[in-house]
Symmetry: C2
């Protein structure tokens, strides 16, 4: 089958947008249009909801916001002379029945918005809430441009070729009735460590079914917890990958439809840990940039979580912009302080030591008359963690730092952490990384030289809130714990299924109960950079007051 | 039009369910069935998703959870001999296309599940996420029972008679094709202070359109932030209210279809403030009960927010179960301490005074070398608030109390509060109540006698974190602030629309910016009892890193 594509050149523009920052988004697009034009492109493809940033969430409920999206798109359109563009934006549903908005792709040409097409399949699961805002489209047409018929779809519209089909219609089947020659898909497909491979599989499945080349433009950059890895794609009509845009960086590539290469060199597939590493670095970097902050602070304990968080932050923000505070208590071991100092010195980051003993004693003194001679317990452990929290926040407030949270996913899952203490922070860096993967990250960070002291990596984890405490006193070994958590959280297996895999029954029941009864703590944790298929936060919504497996 | 209803007696069972507590939910239903039977009922109607509690949220993604729902429903069915029941539960979608579940109504009779009907219209807005889980039903039939044809629908299925129609189908139009004689609607319709009136309007609109009697069974009780007020309803075929079940309490009423009263005495319509008061008391009570806690602690400042929170908690839990801690700083005024003590004494609640000066000084001392002689600012103010937070949490941990948060909606909106300080707590009681309404609540609490000292109500609000501080130093008067906030939050008006109402432009821009830039604080606040049409929390989902009106 031959498709006459008349020598059209298509640019994929993979940009890092800022939610609600219309001026910045519009200007980025305008300069990408100029760049694409310079490279001879006829068409430039931007991402889904590019004009607003993704996800705009309930800003979509404000008429004012929707109007600004339209105005910004008109501004971008003015620059579309001798070049066309596809831009994602929300538009109003003018019919009185249904949701009041569409998730749309505008076709910009000759200085104006020439056509608007709408998304049909609205992901409403995990971190997606699209049916909260948008009416599903049921009316399909292709766009004719310079004699070539374009089948333009929005993200999920081409994702229904898998095993479980969530939707009753297939938008590409509808568009094929008009015999298009090219598929264009604008997307907002956030990262998790398996997503790049899934994306390639889906694109290829579409080409295999429809025998058309496809150009796929994704977002790149972090939007609080959601990390967009980019990785925009182009395939020729034979299902061969001909373009594979950068991961975790802005990129623009131009493809000549008449001279698509037979096969692009596919980039080496990065390891899971390398992907997580790069995603987290981008997540930290963009969080600070987009909020207009430069400097981070964190409590450095000598343990592995804060060490990995600090190394990632140093990479994202520059070592000089990460201030480490060592907050030893009377239960802190000497090696902890040394390990923490070694890391700060190695990175060349500023650090100070503020012992918490005096403050802790002043709390104890004031509370003594009210504690009724009850024995030392979790209350006193938490006072220490919270004293640290107050000190870190005081420095954060005084100097305008953002406090980085250092909790990992395993701790967060079972509630092994102090609310308003070590659970504080503006951003949780490792909250979607299980402890076993935190160790892997540490080794990855040390792949060329010792940055994180090997002693930090090799010693048994401890919260050091009472004498000789070890994590393994109250938790199972992390290899076992993390395996059970993965089955329950990522795979949504019930207790019987997990026990049947060979895990100890009492342990499984205990772990699942810990996860469920600690929902109240996770409700108040900072946003967590999402790297897995199921992160705590917007993608996992649980009741607090419930009695299931608890 | 005469409907032969063969003397059927229908019971509406309005119960307080516990999410995931199948044993408790099932037993409650079984005893309601026995009770209804005793009163000669032929049919007993329970609420939407009664078997699981509402909303079960992502527990619905666990096969194990769905299977337990079915088993519990079968248990309830065993008790349906000589009586039938309608019970809400999630069921599996056996077709391979679409979401994997339905939101269903099971018809139980002769000891088993005889029929299962599915919900068509799936609310996915505000606090509702139903399309996240459920496939919309497109296949309709009535249920024949004892010679009477029942049109059974689930909640939203009869809510599309309003102005803006969110959905393309009208389930009752479909069911009318089979000429039913009675409408039955099982619901999970959470409280806000206008909802009871809306419900009545919708029920009447359905009767006016379909000329059938309707029996409407709602949930009652609190599920963390969602408060179900009950208020189940029955209307005769002439559109007259014949049954109006209790607000905020469990209830069961039996109606004889052949002898429906011409018109029930409608209960006096409670005032907005009375409704909010009763809703909050229920919210506190159920939160503690369902989590298995008895006692609350809170910081009592002498100001109005903590006073109202304490009075409500005392009503919900008993005065003896609410422990007040006065935490004066060097900036606290004498009248504050006296006002706080007066309230605790009046209620007869235990209270203690723990001054924070010594602890604050020990923080200052440790931080002095690191604060670089910078002037007293928000950092020191926050240390005080956080010291209080640590003390309250220490007592909470030591004695197993739940800390009540005392922030109001106005403060929460503009970020006038200290994260990890006065924003702490397991539950926010007033987080959906604007400051002007907090004053109204205080007056309502004092309607019979002075419980909250009038001095607390009449003095100008102050955080007392620096000398002679007043809220009005940094915020506009609450009457104006709250009006702007209401337009922005509840009404989703943009800045131009609010300014056009006559508010000062600079002030509007400042307030909206404060709301948006403080999203990061609200992300970490406790769950908030929802009493308005738009509460912070699950019903208002905003990006943190954004640049819109900020």
């Amino acid at each position: 089958m031959h498709h006459n594509t008349k020598g059209m050149k298509i640019a994929i523009a993979q940009l890092n947008y800022h939610i609600g920052n219309f001026e910045s988004n519009q200007n980025k697009m305008i300069s990408a249009i100029a760049d694409a034009k310079k490279q001879g492109a006829d068409l430039v493809v931007f991402a889904e909801l590019a004009i607003s940033g993704y996800p705009p969430r309930d800003f979509l409920e404000f008429d004012d916001f929707i109007e600004r999206c339209w105005i910004a798109t008109e501004e971008v359109a003015k620059h579309c002379t001798d070049i066309a563009a596809v831009v994602g934006l929300p538009t109003k549903n003018k019919v009185s029945v249904g949701k009041s908005l569409y998730n749309s792709a505008a076709f910009l040409n000759e200085g104006k918005i020439q056509d608007v097409l709408h998304k049909s399949l609205l992901p409403t699961y995990d971190i997606f809430d699209e049916y909260r805002y948008f009416e599903p489209n049921t009316d399909f047409h292709c766009v004719n441009y310079k004699g070539t018929k374009l089948a333009i779809t929005v993200c999920e519209d081409i994702w229904n070729l898998g095993v479980q089909d969530l939707y009753k219609i297939k938008p590409m089947d509808e568009l094929m009735k008009e015999n298009p020659e090219v598929m264009i898909n604008i997307a907002a497909s956030p990262f998790h460590y398996e997503q790049a491979e899934r994306r390639k599989m889906i694109m290829k499945a579409n080409v295999d079914k429809y025998h058309l080349p496809i150009f796929y433009a994704n977002h790149v950059g972090a939007q609080t917890e959601l990390l967009f890895d980019g990785g925009s794609l182009a395939y020729n009509a034979h299902g061969e990958l001909v373009g594979d845009l950068k991961y975790f960086e802005e990129d623009l590539q131009v493809f000549d439809l008449n001279q698509l290469p037979e096969k692009a060199e596919s980039k080496a597939k990065p390891s899971k840990i390398a992907l997580i590493h790069d995603a987290l670095v981008m997540g930290i970097k963009n969080y600070f940039q987009k909020l207009g902050f430069k400097q981070a602070i964190l409590g450095l304990s000598g343990g592995i979580d804060s060490a990995v968080t600090m190394a990632l932050a140093a990479e994202a923000l520059g070592s000089e912009n990460v201030r480490a505070i060592l907050l030893p208590s009377q239960y802190s071991s000497d090696h902890s302080i040394k390990d923490a100092e070694d890391l700060a010195k190695k990175l060349g980051s500023p650090y100070q030591i503020i012992p918490i003993k005096t403050i802790f004693e002043s709390f104890e003194k004031e509370l003594k008359p009210h504690f009724e001679n009850l024995p030392f317990n979790i209350a006193e452990e938490n006072i220490q963690a919270r004293t640290r929290g107050v000190l870190l926040m005081a420095l954060s407030n005084k100097f305008g730092y953002i406090l980085l949270n250092t909790s990992n996913k395993s701790e967060s899952a079972v509630g092994y952490g102090t609310l308003y203490g070590d659970m504080n922070g503006g951003l949780s860096v490792l909250g979607d990384v299980y402890k076993v993967d935190v160790f892997e990250l540490a080794r990855y960070i040390n792949r060329n030289e010792e940055i994180i002291p090997w002693n930090t990596i090799n010693k048994p984890p401890s919260a050091e809130l009472r004498p000789d405490q070890k994590d393994s006193d109250s938790l199972p070994e992390y290899e076992i714990l993390d395996s059970i958590l993965f089955q329950y959280i990522e795979k949504r297996k019930g207790p019987r299924e997990i026990i049947e895999m060979g895990f100890d029954e009492a342990l499984v029941n205990r772990v699942l109960k810990l996860v469920n009864t600690n929902e109240y703590k996770r409700y108040q944790t900072p946003p967590i950079l999402r790297v897995s298929t199921k992160a705590f936060g917007m993608g996992r919504r649980m009741p607090i007051v419930a009695k299931y497996l608890s």
